[in-house]
């Protein structure tokens, strides 16, 4: 995985607390998040969590809703009551997510339903951490190698060539470039570019990427948009 967890250039590692009662998932998340550059603690139930957060501060929580000893949302409320303001990424087993969870999402937190792609968890986590940290100056230009996006004029150039992109294609390319070097899943693309939480049975996203790639990469020496089989897509310099 990409070692991209360091935010805003500080050397201090981002601290995460994973609360999950399923041992397999807990250990997988701890390992994978550690490999991604985060400092990870894990708890298997609500009581342990409360004991841990009593004297430690975290930058974000990853929390399974179905804990053996208490309701996940109650646990969040009790953490909040203790003064923890860190964002919470909720993991839910159910697909149609509880109304309260959706309400929580509007409060700045986010949720993922199991099973999920780890890339998506990373992306949502990054999103939450960015939201909770002071906003960096919004750039008006994005650049990946010789691809340059002018976000104000909504134009994309590859070297000297102006790419003929539709609005939708530009939005897709912008999303890829904002996450340059990081893999994005089809679900994330649908969610972030089309604002839809759908799960198409056909390869609509692949075809969209295929068409975009024809415009961005066809005829150039270096391909920028890459397919990561089984995960999604990434735009990167090589």
């Amino acid at each position: 995985m990409e070692a991209s967890a360091q935010l805003t250039g500080t050397r201090k590692k981002v601290r995460l607390l994973v609360v999950e009662d399923d041992t397999a998932i807990r250990e997988f998340l701890s390992r994978a998040l550690t490999e991604s550059g985060y400092q990870v603690d894990a708890a298997r139930d609500g009581e342990t969590t409360l004991a841990i957060v009593a004297d430690k501060v975290y930058d974000a929580f990853i929390l399974d809703l179905g804990l053996p000893d208490m309701d996940g949302l109650d646990l969040i409320a009790r953490c909040r009551a203790q003064g923890h303001t860190a964002p919470v990424l909720i993991l839910s087993a159910r697909r149609s997510v509880d109304e309260r969870v959706r309400g929580l999402e509007q409060g700045g937190d986010d949720y993922l339903t199991k099973p999920f792609a780890f890339a998506e968890l990373l992306a949502r986590l990054r999103n939450l951490l960015r939201r909770s940290s002071p906003a960096a100056a919004e750039s008006t230009r994005l650049r990946v190698r010789d691809l340059e996006l002018d976000l104000i004029r909504r134009e994309a150039r590859r070297g000297d060539t102006l790419l003929q992109l539709t609005t939708q294609e530009f939005a897709l390319l912008e999303y890829l470039c904002r996450n340059a070097g990081r893999v994005v899943t089809r679900t994330m693309i649908l969610d972030q570019v089309w604002r839809m939480r759908i799960d198409p049975a056909t390869n609509v996203v692949d075809v969209q990427i295929y068409r975009l790639r024809n415009k961005v990469d066809l005829g150039f020496q270096h391909s920028l948009i890459h397919t990561i089989r089984g995960v999604g897509y990434v735009i990167r310099e090589s």
Binding site: P115, W194, M196, V204, G230
Partner: protein, 477 residues
Amino acid sequence: MSSANHKMARSSAAWRIAGWPTVAFALGSAAAFAIMYLIIAGDIRQRSDDWLSGEAETLADVSANTPRDSLYGRLVQEVAELASHEVAPSSDKREGQNTVFFLQMTPNLEPIWVGPQPREPFVRAIEEAHLIPGTPASVKVADWTMPFRVVYDTQAGGNGIYLGFSDVAGSKMLARLTASCLFAWAATVLLGFAIAWIVAHRTLARVVRITETVSQIGTDDLSTRVPEGSSSDEISRLSQTFNRMLDRIQASVHQLHVLTDSVAHDLKSPVTSIRGSLEVALSENQSGMWRERVAEAIDGLDRLSQVLNTTLDLAEADGGALRLHKETIDLSELVRQLLDLYQPAMDVHRHHVAAHLQPVAICADMSLLNRAIANLLDNEVAHLPSGREINVSLRATGDDALITIEDNGPGFPLELRKHALERFVKGEQSSGHGLGLAFVAAVAQAHGGKVKVDDRPAGGAIILLSLPMSEVLTTKT
């Protein structure tokens, strides 16, 4: 064991159902009979009292106006005897007949007595009775069972006249009346109870049959039905309701079997391919090759979770637990965005998509509608032979927003059209999981709309999704 319990329960219930109304009926009818008795008895007494008063007056008249000669006693006696014969036809003065006595007490004269002998008990009884003149009263005479009604008259010129009458005939009539009333009362109460018990028993027997039938229905055999009977009373309706419930349970169980089978089948193939891919990956020596296998395995897992998710969604929709997060949506914009998303995929298949979208606002769950319409478009992409025309239209018809998706493809296979909206129903060549249209139907239903699937007369398939717009102004959650 249970049948014995039923029997006991049934008989006790029958006794209870028949018993209480019978008790109420018995009390009511007893009161009615008692009132009737009192009225008749009062009438009879009144009649004899009237007679007594009238006769006493006549006798007083006679005794006052008859000259007091030697024949005075004989005359008064004759008149009294004549009067007594009016009500006591037989001269035989024994008990069991109407009995009349007449006594006239005149100072310095021998009392005149007409009536049964000896007269002493009568005289004693009268003296003890302290009678009020002119008012008939009951006097009990020693050795006589029936009390006498006696009237005392003092108007006979200083003579005290006592006329007594024991209305045995009236009493006998009253007794007969009482006896027959009691008999009639007992008979009606018994008959009423018997009828009530039989009706209750027979009704409850039908309930017991329902109970027995229902208790015999096991999980493995749901085909047995409760006898419904020909009438349309409550019990028949109960049976019918039970049978409808059993129908539904049987259908649900059947559906569950189908569902389990289909889920098992649908999970088996991806699991097999995932396992295969991973096994091959393990035996690969070149890293590039195993990456490919692992990617295949992840694709398989994605298919697997799609089946799981949609199955769960449908299960929730069935349980009525599909929560709607309604907001006001520009439906045309929603459809347009989906068409944009699907356009490249349509292009790949060389389909020509024409859209006629009227602006329609609707209050609905955007996420669910997105997924439903995406399912419909997935269907077109997956099942239509390449190079076809697809028409997507959206318009308001009355209270509904109507989304129509038509194509000029081969249409629905005949055997599929009827069941296209049921889950796990899919075409033979379909690689889908057969849940797409079922999910669309569930979403439509949750919004109070419906889906219709048909073949166009000109060939090709048409899918109509109608959603009510009525809630645009009312609900906003």
